[in-house]
Point group: C2
Chain length 297, copies 2
Amino acid sequence: MSGAPDPPDGGYPEHLRTLVERYLESLDFAAQGLRAELAEAMRYSLLAGGKRIRPVLTLAVAESCGRPPESMLPTAAAFELIHTYSLIHDDLPAIDDDDLRRGRPTCHVVYGEDVAILAGDGLFAEAFSLVLDRQEAAASTLVHVLGEIARATGLGGMVGGQYMDIVSTRAVDVDLRTMHELKTGRLIEAAVVCGALLCGAREAAVEEYRAFAAELGLLFQIVDDILDVVGDSESLGKTAGKDAQAAKLTYVSRHGLAGARDLARQAHRRSRELLDRLPGDGSSLAAVADYILDRES
Amino acid sequence: MSGAPDPPDGGYPEHLRTLVERYLESLDFAAQGLRAELAEAMRYSLLAGGKRIRPVLTLAVAESCGRPPESMLPTAAAFELIHTYSLIHDDLPAIDDDDLRRGRPTCHVVYGEDVAILAGDGLFAEAFSLVLDRQEAAASTLVHVLGEIARATGLGGMVGGQYMDIVSTRAVDVDLRTMHELKTGRLIEAAVVCGALLCGAREAAVEEYRAFAAELGLLFQIVDDILDVVGDSESLGKTAGKDAQAAKLTYVSRHGLAGARDLARQAHRRSRELLDRLPGDGSSLAAVADYILDRES
């Protein structure tokens, strides 16, 4: 990929993040009466900021294939709804018991555990509705997009990875790479792949996007583990040092800090190499990969 | 509807329930390694028995339009996965705090709260995968089916109704009929409507099936409230008297036992009248309506 102007100062594609942010703010989930309060809890967690990496990736793929990013906003936003749902449930007292997320009290701290469970459930359902009701695409494309999302969120994806994460604290021998691929990688992968599907990419091209995204997901998790050790709670916006405290299996606990940093650089290099083989303007995708390597929160 | 043989002794369509039961038993969620334990928790709740009203309704619609019921098993089963997911989450200590369901300890009692939350999440995702990966139908039909499911489970459906149920215990004035329509009715409605969509029914016919199903959903909930008062825990398979204990708004608390029974008979009569206007063999659908009125658990 070459020939297109880099995003402003070569940094994170803020123009895409702005699109995502405005779209997310516009969602009220058509909740009337009492249910508006549940929608408020969902919006509390959804609009807590963050880099919006998953939806930005979907829109960056749109750019790479010359489609207007706006045309993929419903699907892009669906990934942020799903990511937020997973954070709300992960933070629950029965799972990670986290009080702080993105610098604010977590959903269950503000609204209670019962509402937080339902807010997560609601975000997941509304994510599917967003794609089904608002994404313009051929029915056959929508079916592929939804299949990708369902697989990325089920036992072979996010929920399966979260389960492995839970049992990894119980002195069970868990394969670290598989756990992270499922818990974090599959959703990042799906965000990229669904962009490619909405571009009308052929199967071989879709698989090239998938390979790029798989490296990105790996990179993301390694850096996450590093930040849990070297970051502070203030800049992370969540409680630092939780992993060590919970004796969780991480890339740092297994490979040491220097080893983890080396693995991160390798994953970043592979992702950029895979990106170079893809057609179109990959500048925003490259900028996201660079951001994921260098991020400090 | 007429002309077809009644199901054996005019009772519940056990031949359809048997199909559902066998299909549900065949699901292993392709979970490998550690995740097989999460699949086990999902199967524990999924295979706890019950009349399988929702999937049986989908298959009964298939019969009514002359399609092989087997052809709709993936979608039918998806409704049981979703129903089970909602029960697991509703039973959690933070929501209804129920220890007993279908005569067995609830999912979180056996597997822990963390696993129960994920088992619910996993069932929801796998329900979508079932339809997407296994239901044979035109892509445009699948999109309609999935849209129906997503709407029935989001804020305008199950999750919204569950939220209203939670706040109804906090002395907030909740519209009883809306709450039940959302919490219970919309999923029963979707189970019928998706059958009609898979039959290739035209929009007007789909709406006739929907009207029938709406009465069925109402009937179901009124009888549920009556059984909570007159039933005993043993035959219900769940803790009786929970509603009164939690000062929950129910048809019995608002209309008295005799009034609620009268409302149930009215809803049943309307459902049978609507069914009579539909084409095809409605004997299994009628048998389900009769069962819902007369059930004792």
